[in-house]
């Protein structure tokens, strides 16, 4: 078996999931709309108090992004599970772990990347300065893949369980806490002038660990769900 064919199969899965998202634009755009709405309602609700908004901005934006990535989690594997595609993935001669990672990659491209694009614009509402916005984008770039990877473990564990959507949230939210703390912390630290490097490094470490271990956990959980 060559690595090339495994990569080709994984890219095939990625391509298919992106194509499906393209065919269902309203579903695919839901997370970014949710993010925009949440992040826009806070300034309206709190009123024009620049200092307060700048204080809460990083936290609100990060919590908004975190909840937005959760929206599509419940369906991440459920659709494939119901129509039998997941069995085909599990029985593919290519490594299941690569294919599962490709699905997580597609999830991030569809519901993580647009958040990062929208974040700078939303950050302006909170009066964050330009260099802080750069740190926000960097923290989201490192953090949202962690959210997708960890969230996918929860989605795989709750596959086929009734009320799985709520269960995913219960399983995944505690695991999201490190990413939230370091992510929002990085932006806060930049605002406070202490430098964001430490927080971003920790966030990067989270990404490395999640990137390495999460696909294995996901495939193990999926295999159990398929039994």
């Amino acid at each position: 078996m060559t690595g090339g064919s495994a990569l080709a199969a994984a890219l095939g899965v990625l391509r298919r999931d992106l194509l499906l998202a393209l065919r269902r634009k309203s579903d695919a755009l839901a997370p970014v709309f949710f993010f925009v709405i949440v992040a826009s309602l806070f300034p309206l609700g709190i009123g024009p108090e620049p200092d307060l908004l700048r204080r809460i901005g990083p936290g609100v934006l990060w919590v908004g992004a975190l909840l937005a990535t959760m929206l599509a989690l419940a369906r991440l594997f459920a659709a494939d599970y119901e129509d039998g595609t997941l069995e085909q993935l599990a029985l593919s001669p290519e490594p299941f772990v690569m294919l599962a990672a490709a699905k997580v990659g597609a999830h991030w491209l569809v519901s993580g990347l647009p958040l990062i694009v929208a974040a700078p614009v939303l950050a302006l509402q909170y009066g964050l300065p330009a260099d802080t916005i750069a740190v926000l984008v960097a923290s989201l770039l490192l953090g949202t893949p962690v959210l997708s990877l960890v969230g996918a473990i929860g989605a795989a564990l709750t596959l086929g369980v009734r009320g799985g959507g709520l269960l995913v949230a219960l399983i995944v939210l505690p695991l999201y806490v490190p990413a939230l703390v370091f992510g929002a912390g990085a932006v806060d630290a930049n605002l406070a002038g202490t430098g964001a490097a430490a927080h971003l490094s920790l966030l990067g470490a989270c990404l490395v660990i999640a990137g390495f271990f999460a696909p294995w956990a996901i495939t193990a959980a999926l295999r159990i769900a398929l039994e």
Binding site: M1, S5, A8, A9, G12, V13, R16, L19, L20, R23, R24, E82, D83, G84, T85, E87, Q88, L89, A90, L91, S92, P93, E94, P95, L99, L226, E227
Partner: protein
């Protein structure tokens, strides 16, 4: 080639079947029959390696399949009762995605050819959502035409197929067995294949 020894399947606290053993040589087919709930699908899922048996072992060329992993999966084509089609993709895209997943990407021409022969050539560019049940089944079974897998494991392949579809499938099975392939099939209807299928009755 494929050997099952003393397979037992337990669902919840109910034993679906126990002591199921058989051996299939190259070019042989096995028709699994049994009442609803006798465990036909469970047996097939054990054979392809989706679920482990409670007791017993499945071996391919003398080696247990749980040790073979990807090497075994390369030899197997599984067609469950779910069609594994994406409603939002066209029949053509579905077939090509399935081929890529099986580790053998095919071009558009080849995919069209397979759909043509499966009798859904005219529907190749329609989204799978708009196909009838029988046409969906034919699209799912079109994978048989370009797969290189030695062992076909088909769960109720003729469900929803019309007479022409059943005939087409029987011919495909015949060709597969003649060329030295193996097949394990469940069906409530007779398969009408020329090749002789051994029978395995579950729950009898």
């Amino acid at each position: 080639m494929l050997a099952a020894t003393a397979l037992e399947c337990i669902r919840g606290d109910r034993t679906l079947f126990s002591g199921v053993s058989f051996e299939l040589a190259a070019g042989a087919g096995l028709l699994v029959q049994g009442a609803n709930g006798a465990g036909k699908t469970s047996l097939l899922r054990i054979l392809v390696g989706l679920s482990p048996p409670a007791v017993g072992e499945v071996a391919w060329e003398g080696r247990p399949i749980r040790l073979l992993g990807e090497a075994y999966r390369r030899e197997v084509l599984w067609c469950g009762h779910a069609n594994a089609l994406k409603d939002d993709l066209s029949a053509l895209e579905n077939v090509r995605a399935a081929a890529a997943l099986a580790g053998r990407p095919i071009g558009e021409e080849q995919a069209r050819g397979a759909l043509e022969r499966a009798g859904v050539g005219a529907q190749a560019d329609l989204p799978a959502r708009s196909l009838s049940q029988g046409q969906k089944r034919r699209t799912a079974l079109a994978r048989l035409l370009f797969a290189r897998a030695k062992l076909w494991v088909l769960d109720e392949p003729v469900a929803a197929l019309d007479a022409g579809g059943v005939e087409w499938l029987a011919a495909a099975l015949d060709r597969h067995l003649e060329s030295g392939g193996l097949a394990v099939v469940t069906s409530h209807q007779p398969l009408a294949t020329g090749a002789r299928f051994e029978m395995l009755k579950l729950g009898a």
